[in-house]
């Protein structure tokens, strides 16, 4: 069932982190391959010809692209350990709705925070906090979005925590001050080895962003 499993990834990618967490939660061994995005490997271009992006999960030579699809695939194939996606169809639909919400909002708004200035940045910050507050509402009093154990929404969202410090420095604001429940949830997640080992150091991510800003000319 395990077969050969390779993850083509890039260390600061929150999307790659999702698959890393899912695989770690289930204790599945795999080969991690770091891609140089300025010099993409032939394997990456062959396995994801449409988008040429990471992460790509290759299982027995067959590619699975898109991080949310990878997490679902991992959960389906290795269903006997640490289930991430709810078994009830309605709860599943709710979880998918929130993962879709995270995908539509968090990355784009976060990107605007570090890439832009002035009014555009201010609007992005405002909307970003509003989105986190909506997610706090969905979390409620639960330990995790998945209830007592890590679930699909947790895996989809927690990687962005590694970028929070960069967002805060670039945007000159405190996410914890605005969304304390969110940070409390993050800290609970970070106590799990699968999460702690899959997320890079926030300072490293900030340094990486500073390099990107130079390239984009916004410094």
């Amino acid at each position: 069932m395990a077969g050969e499993l390779v993850l083509l990834d890039f260390w600061p990618s929150p999307f790659g982190m999702r698959s890393r967490i899912a695989l770690a939660e289930k204790g599945i061994p795999y080969e991690y391959r770091e891609e140089d995005l300025r010099n993409k490997s032939d394997l990456l271009l062959q396995m994801n010809p449409v988008h040429k992006k990471i992460p790509v999960l290759i299982h027995n030579g067959k590619p699975v692209c898109e991080s949310v699809i990878q997490v679902q695939y991992i959960d389906e194939v290795w269903h006997d350990k640490a289930p991430l996606i709810p078994s009830d169809p309605y709860q599943r639909a709710v979880a998918r709705f929130w993962v879709d919400f995270i995908d539509k909002k968090i990355y784009e708004l976060g990107s605007k925070i570090w890439k832009t200035k002035g009014e555009e940045q201010a609007n992005a910050k405002k909307e970003f906090i509003e989105c986190l507050k909506l997610l706090e509402g969905e979390l409620g009093d639960k330990t995790y979005f998945g209830g007592e154990s890590l679930g699909y929404v947790d895996v989809a969202l927690v990687p962005f925590y590694s970028w929070f410090y960069a967002y805060e420095k670039c945007g000159d604001f405190s996410i914890e001050a605005e969304c304390p429940k969110m940070i409390a949830w993050v800290k609970r997640c970070m106590q799990k080895e699968s999460v702690a080992k899959s997320l890079p150091d926030q300072e490293k991510v900030y340094e990486f962003i500073l390099q990107l800003k130079k390239v984009f000319g916004s410094e």
């Binding site: 449409v50 699975v64 692209c65 990878q70 389906e76 194939v77 169809p89 639909a93 998918r96 709705f97």
Partner: protein, 223 residues
């Protein structure tokens, strides 16, 4: 017996995706037409985050976002399955469904914009068609789902019907049959399926309404 309600708008391709899924599986439902310029309190209650259609309400519980709704329908009513059973084949289908979902909004941008913005949308649409022609439809398949349509076919419906109508009144020419032969065959095949053919918005009505919407949008931009 559980009641199924669908909140929709007659012009929206996202709504038709749900209608087709329900009809393909033979599920009776009550349809509620929403006036999107004057949304009902019920819609806003059921979809407070996005305030959009479609919303499916099953047994009083709302489900929002068309693809989330389609997957829910496919799981609750497994007859005439809309996704492959094999995990890898399903992952591939979901990849194309996401691609369709991410790129289809550029089709509506064609009528909502002009000038450079419209040109960017036109380029995105053309590239989307190239990818479908070159990557998604290879292998002499009649449909994305093989011999029968599945969720991927449904996901690409804007290409099959809405694009042509919008090209008509904007004067854009993005899809040309000789440039996209596989896609052309697929469009003919898709629109011949009885459930699809009998449940498509009227092209003249669509043209008139979208043209008017375009005029209002562009006028409000310049004022």
């Amino acid at each position: 017996m559980a009641v199924v309600k669908l909140f929709g708008a007659w012009l929206s391709p996202y709504v038709y995706k749900v209608i087709w899924a329900l009809k393909l599986k033979g599920i009776p439902y009550e349809y509620i037409e929403e006036d999107l310029s004057n949304k009902s309190p019920l819609l806003l209650q059921y979809n407070p985050i996005h305030k959009k259609v479609p919303v499916l309400v099953h047994d009083g519980k709302p489900i929002c976002e068309s693809i989330v709704i389609l997957r829910y329908i496919d799981e609750i009513w497994p007859q005439n399955p809309l996704l492959p059973a094999d995990p890898h084949e399903r992952a591939v289908a979901l990849f194309w469904i996401k691609f369709a979902d991410d790129k289809s909004p550029f089709i509506s941008k064609l009528y909502r914009t002009d000038g450079e913005e419209q040109q960017v949308a036109a380029k995105e649409c053309f590239e989307m068609l190239e990818v479908i022609e070159g990557h998604a439809l290879v292998g002499e398949k009649k449909f994305f789902g093989g011999d029968e349509i599945n969720m991927v076919d449904i996901a690409f419906c804007s290409v099959a019907h809405w694009l042509g109508v919008i090209e008509g009144f904007t004067g854009l020419k993005i899809f040309e049959p000789h440039k996209f032969p596989r896609l052309n065959s697929w469009i003919q095949n898709f629109k011949s399926i009885p459930v699809i053919k009998d449940n498509l918005p009227d092209t003249d009505k669509m043209s008139a309404v979208l043209k008017r919407r375009r005029e209002m949008l562009l006028a409000s931009k310049s004022s």
